[in-house]
Point group: C2
Chain length 277, copies 2
């Protein structure tokens, strides 16, 4: 059953979920692109990170998070977590056939295919995202001749959370992960940041790779995809006041404190509610 | 109600739980000290790390883990996770009055007090352990004049898990965390490794701090405390065959693979069972 525009309640918020605060980089891009929309953001901070967990566990967590958003009423869902998008997107779509669901992998793959001339594309992400090969599938579906190499860069997550975004250690870690990839005659010309934490390290990453290589992150392209979908389905909010509410599975004060660096604006603690999954 | 020796079933295993595989460093010390005992180890890998989570969440997780061990039958419980020991020990003891429960904080504090001459003791651990000030309380309870300083070193956890135990990056991170502490006229003479992951980085840590400072980790001292308790309560196994079984909340194959570096011996995948908390 395909829904028509009139089936949606346009005044409901757009739901966004992530394993923690990293998805706030996606929310930031969504708010910029869709300023009249309301948003409901869920960060499953109590169980983060998803990136080192098994596909079964990640899928179960994604389904639980999606159920919380659906039960509170959302008109569209964005899976802002790369790991959950890579592994759980189909399961979430199947569980909520009445709600359009957008992940971050497909928009990121589209942007990478557009940016690359040579078709040699490197993807860096968490261990689970890489093992699941979702970027590989999404990129080669658009560009079958592409050569996609995936590399897990787990330490980038901790560096982003510790706030060590630039400087000697960030560059040494970036060098250790990326130099073997880019210091090669057949080096990729495009690097996909396949984790919402990685854009915070963009400068350190840019300093150690070939300066001509394109760096693609999926926040902006996901926002563009959601904007297009809202338009195509005629589900834009008409009241247009905007606004955000936050849900977290862990400490609300900590969410507000650590989240603001990712969202790029302050988060009043009163706007954050604790939920149990 | 205090139990007497005859109340315990001496042939039951000793239960050990941790947020993941780090507690296997404690299990290793226990097996060395108590070779005739059976052990049941639970790693809550699906929800790790505990170290960045709120006290309420950590306590809830510790109670759930303890219930799983109790329901399977254990004669004694060891909380091998510093964060869970620091925050959840009292709650676990209250929930299981019939089972002696040992944490890793008190034995570590005792060892630190014994090692320190000046009474200036630094504790490095995860954010939650430091915020909870459990080492501070345990050390000053033994030695009221001690000056205890706690420092969160979150990146050490990722370095240990990534296997980057030595070398340039490990030392640069150790330098960044520890140089401000030890490069001081009133520097501590003892450093407590208040996280089960940190012993893997002992060499890198030792290379950047004052070579005369003592480095204390709680695995060995916890095993000594458990050995004493088993003896005092007359609860030693009489059959004495030993043996270990493992439970994990995430992928069994991954547990077996990542766990062996911490345990110092191979873990047959068949000995690992998946449980849901």
């Amino acid at each position: 059953m395909t829904k028509t525009a009139t089936d949606y309640n346009n005044e409901l918020p757009i739901g966004v979920f992530d394993s923690g605060v990293g998805g706030l980089t996606v929310l930031k891009a969504l708010m910029r692109r869709l300023p009249g929309e309301r948003f409901l953001y869920l960060g499953d901070c109590a169980r983060l990170p998803y990136g080192t967990k098994s596909p079964q566990t990640v899928t179960r967590y994604a389904l639980q998070a999606a159920s919380v958003l659906a039960s509170r009423g959302v008109k569209l869902m964005v899976i802002a977590c790369n790991t959950a998008s890579a592994i759980g997107l189909d399961a979430v779509r199947a569980a909520h056939p009445g709600i359009p669901v957008v992940g971050v992998v497909e928009p990121g793959a589209q942007a990478a295919c557009k940016a690359s001339r040579s078709g040699r594309i490197a993807v860096i992400a968490t261990e689970s995202t890489i093992r699941g090969r979702a970027y590989h599938r999404a990129i080669t579906a658009i560009r079958p001749d592409a050569q996609v190499d995936g590399h897990a860069c787990s330490l980038f997550v901790s560096l982003a959370e510790e706030g060590w975004h630039t400087g000697e250690i960030a560059e040494a870690v970036a060098m250790r992960y990326l130099d073997p990839i880019f210091n090669d005659a057949h080096a990729p010309d495009t690097l996909v940041l396949g984790c919402t934490h990685f854009p915070l390290l963009k400068q350190a990453i840019g300093n150690v790779i070939n300066p001509e290589a394109a760096i693609v992150d999926s926040a902006g392209t996901t926002a563009q995809a959601v904007h297009g979908l809202v338009h195509d389905l005629g589900m834009g909010a008409t009241e247009g006041h905007g606004g955000i509410r936050f849900l977290t599975t862990d400490d609300a004060a900590r969410f507000a404190r650590t989240g603001q660096g990712f969202l790029g604006r302050s988060i009043p603690e009163d706007d954050v509610r604790l939920v149990d999954l």
